[in-house]
């Protein structure tokens, strides 16, 4: 079976600084894969390389077996690759519902239509409302995104990505910046994702990682340090050393 997402020998440097070094990564269909590593390990850079925000200096990215290394970001998204951002990237001045309709409209080509009123196609709106209902956001449908508390904005961020009906979903610290009292809302959504979607999650909270992931890749200084099941990673002395040697990763340190 071809992997949903495959990254081969990916390299990227900014000047003399190599931020991604010979990274290999495979996500099978339905994968639950966590990407962990100390700050500055190049996790977000890797997401940007996979989604096409950045181009690699060498190496390949394959989506469902197709080489998409030279394909632009929007085309990758249309082929089923969705992401969330570490810092919200939303249409802040638009309503929550419009945020979702935007993603649906781009997905099925509705947004190419210059003449028909946006409200005249109920199927798009129904689908958006269904999506909001499944994330318990429907009461906020008409609120502007900027009026929502940050935790709910994070949910909109995920709702947009899900509206793309992706086959591969990259979650860049989905609960980042959310007060711990609300983070369970987001983690429940993550835990309940469609089992067919291959998910790569970047997360600092080791409790979340060990609960959610079936596979873990540890990235250190741009390179894959090790890779394995949660049990293997937990038992790995070297991983503990890397984490214990780092400050600011109390979640990891606690757990180890």
């Amino acid at each position: 079976m071809t992997a949903a997402l495959q990254v081969e020998k990916l390299n990227r440097s900014f000047g003399a600084l190599a931020v991604t070094r010979d990274v290999d990564l495979v996500l099978e269909r339905g994968a639950r894969h966590a990407l962990i590593g100390p700050n500055g390990a190049g996790k977000t850079t890797l997401v940007n390389l996979i989604t096409g925000v950045l181009r690699p200096n060498s190496g390949r990215v394959l989506l469902n077996g197709d080489d998409i290394t030279t394909v632009n970001q929007a085309e990758r998204a249309r082929r089923g690759l969705a992401r969330t951002f570490q810092i919200n990237q939303l249409f802040r001045g638009l309503s929550v519902l419009e945020n979702i309709c935007m993603a649906i409209g781009e997905r099925d080509g509705e947004n190419n239509n210059l003449w028909r009123p946006a409200g005249a196609k109920p199927s798009v709106i129904e689908e958006a409302l269904d999506q909001l209902e499944s994330l318990k956001l429907v009461d906020d449908a008409l609120k502007l995104v900027k009026e929502l508390p940050y935790g709910r904005q994070r949910l909109v961020e995920i709702a947009i990505a899900l509206s793309q009906k992706p086959r591969v979903l990259l979650l860049d610290e989905p609960a980042a910046g959310v007060p711990s009292s609300e983070s369970h809302l987001i983690l429940d959504v993550v835990a309940a994702l469609d089992p067919d979607i291959a998910v790569l999650i970047i997360e600092h909270d080791m409790d979340v990682v060990f609960r959610f992931a079936k596979e873990i890749t540890v990235l250190v200084q741009g390179a894959v340090f090790t890779h394995g099941t949660p049990q293997q990673i937990m038992a790995d002395e070297q991983v503990r050393a890397v984490y214990l040697g780092q400050e600011g990763l109390s979640g990891g340190a606690h757990h180890g």
């Binding site: 970001q73 939303l90 419009e98 409209g105 781009e106 947004n111 008409l142």
Partner: protein, 348 residues
């Protein structure tokens, strides 16, 4: 609304809030593009002006052309968030298409020459947009400005064709439909331009309420997200820019026809800046800001320049500063806030 709510009444309602929130959201989106009664107001005023100021129709025509020009800018600046200081380029191409058709090729038929002007300015918008819209913000501002200057200087270089800053000599615009002569008071053109403005407004209103229009707003609000959800951002921007260029060219063509006069001054930076000031004054991204802004600007210009031929721009400058400082949504925003306040007072 009643139709939307009926199913929720029969269904076993566990949480009353959720279905009604859904119905309200649905209703809002479905009805958002419906015409509101107040949207007739600009057209009532356009028609009323014809009867109230019958001897000022030449000026009135220029106001209508200003509104059309500002509307075209609103699509790119107000909706798509494309900052441009070169919008006069397309106005100028439209004006020169008409001028050169009559002066060089003896073709003064207004409607066909206007259509040619629309096609040529839209083509210029497509070609320049394809290159320039890869850039954003300050870079784009400078590049659009430079594009207008380049064309203006090319026209100056071949002043044997363009007439340079003295204007195109010998413009002769034929009768509308071969019947209606433009009378001394400009009433014919007021009606002609008024009808065309209505068409432009209708088309733009369709576009801004379409899914494509929503996507333009998305690009303005967050272009990174648009890329991430698979939007062909460059294509969307070029499309909007091309449409806006065509409409600006239409305004330019009507300007040349109604005044029977065109100089290279139409490409001036002043002209690009003026339309932007009009739009900001009225309010961006709302369509009706163009109506208010262009009217207020041109009426002020007309009156202030009579009062003080040298310092009239002070008044407009002052109004712009006040608008930007205290009314970020333009005069349209001020009116809306005032109405809201008034509504609240009258209720309590």
């Amino acid at each position: 609304m009643a139709a939307n709510e009926t199913p929720t009444v029969t269904a076993p309602v566990t949480s009353t809030a959720a279905p009604s929130a859904r119905a309200r959201a649905m209703e809002f989106i479905v009805k958002r593009h419906y015409l509101r009664p107040w949207e007739a107001l600009p057209w009532v005023l356009v028609i009323a002006a014809y009867f109230i100021f019958p001897d000022r129709m030449t000026f009135g025509t220029q106001v209508l052309i200003g509104i059309m020009f500002a509307l075209s800018l609103d699509l790119v600046l107000g909706y798509a968030g494309i900052v441009t200081l070169g919008h006069a380029l397309f106005f100028g191409i439209g004006a020169y298409t008409v001028a050169l058709l009559t002066a060089r090729w003896n073709w003064g038929e207004p409607i066909s020459s206007m259509l040619v002007a629309i096609v040529l300015s839209a083509a210029a918008g497509f070609a320049s947009g394809w290159f320039l819209l890869r850039y954003r913000n300050l870079t784009l501002l400078m590049l659009t400005l430079a594009a207008a200057i380049l064309v203006q200087e090319a026209g100056n270089y071949r002043s044997d064709i363009t007439g340079g800053y003295d204007g195109v000599p010998g413009m002769e615009i034929w009768k509308l439909f071969g019947v209606f002569e433009n009378d001394l008071y400009g009433r014919t053109y007021y009606v002609y331009v008024g009808v065309l403005l209505f068409v432009v407004w209708f088309v733009l209103r369709r576009i801004v309420y379409s899914p494509f229009g929503a996507a333009l707003t998305g690009i303005r609000e967050n272009v990174r997200r648009m890329h991430a959800i698979g939007s062909p951002v460059h294509l969307r921007l070029v499309t909007a820019y091309t449409i806006a260029a065509g409409i600006a060219g239409m305004a330019g063509a009507l300007f040349a026809q109604s005044t029977a006069y065109t100089t290279l001054g139409v490409f001036d930076f002043d002209n690009s800046a003026k339309v932007m000031v009009m739009l900001i004054l009225g309010g961006t991204g709302r369509l009706y800001g163009a109506f208010i802004g262009a009217t207020v600007y041109l009426v002020l210009e007309d009156n202030l320049s009579k009062m003080s031929p040298t310092f009239w721009q002070f008044g407009i400058g002052l109004l712009l500063v006040l608008t930007v400082l205290f009314a970020r949504r333009g005069l349209l925003g001020v009116i809306e806030d005032a109405l809201k306040l008034f509504g609240r007072r009258s209720k309590s």
